[in-house]
Amino acid sequence: MLLKRVVAREGEQVEFRDGKLFVDGKEIEEPYVRYPCSWNLPPRGVEQDGIYVVGDNRNMPIENHHFGQASKKRIMGVPLW
């Protein structure tokens, strides 16, 4: 089981530019990310019934971080606070 943050939903476009997250071309404020990163990821669409998840710990190369698109059916729970 993985603990990740949902950053985009089906039909939305996700992108990273110099470590900043963009959804549908709009920069997303992410106060929960403690350490800056310099990730770059070209835009990609979230498929039907999909979600895009990213972890908060981004002080590692983008290749080593497990994030991406998954089926909504894989959601097992939500935060309680």
Binding site: M1, L2, L41, H66, F67, G68, A70
Partner: protein, 166 residues
């Protein structure tokens, strides 16, 4: 009063009998889980491990696999059918690159689609340190197929499931 005492003794004996039966004859699910616990134990490595233990563990790892096992691990370019000897050798080679290794399994989902076949979906977490001092922490979902051969559940297929697509 005497009747109640005999009744209580009888009930107690039945409970003890059930506990003994469960312990001596574990369910198929428990037998399958045990194979994962053994795999976890034998893949894991402590920094103090000596050459004799290493060789013994390599041999033991092979004994958990079917004569031919299909592996689908795209990240490691490990896809195809391998003999248990090849798997043992590969495991030994991989373990030689780490000073500490810990393999743990979580979220067991076991199904028996047909007699003598167990399909297990599971989360595997591999943590450790390479001989170069680099920390490792990998979590993957696995789909495994085990076949019961001569009363032993053996791994005959292991596939790493792509949960997240970048």
């Amino acid at each position: 009063m005497v009747k109640i005492r005999y009744l209580l003794i009888g009930v107690l004996m039945v409970i003890v009998g059930i506990v003994i039966a469960i312990t001596l004859f574990p369910s198929e699910e428990k037998r399958v889980k045990k194979q994962f616990h053994l795999l976890s134990e034998w893949v894991s490595k402590s920094p103090e491990e000596n050459a004799f233990t290493m060789l013994q563990k390599m041999k033991n790892i092979g004994s958990l696999f079917d004569a031919h096992c299909e592996l689908k691990v795209p990240d490691q370019s490990l896809s195809g059918t391998y003999t248990r000897e090849e798997i043992s050798t590969y495991a030994g080679s991989a373990r030689s690159h780490v000073s500490k290794l810990d393999l743990k399994f979580y979220d067991f989902d076991i199904a028996f689609p047909e007699k003598g076949v167990a399909k297990v979906t599971i989360t595997a977490r591999l943590t450790g340190k390479s001989t170069a001092g680099e920390e490792m922490d990998e979590t993957r979902e696995l789909e495994c197929l085990l076949r019961k051969i001569e009363k032993k559940w053996l791994f005959s297929q292991i596939e790493v499931v792509e949960v997240l697509k970048k």
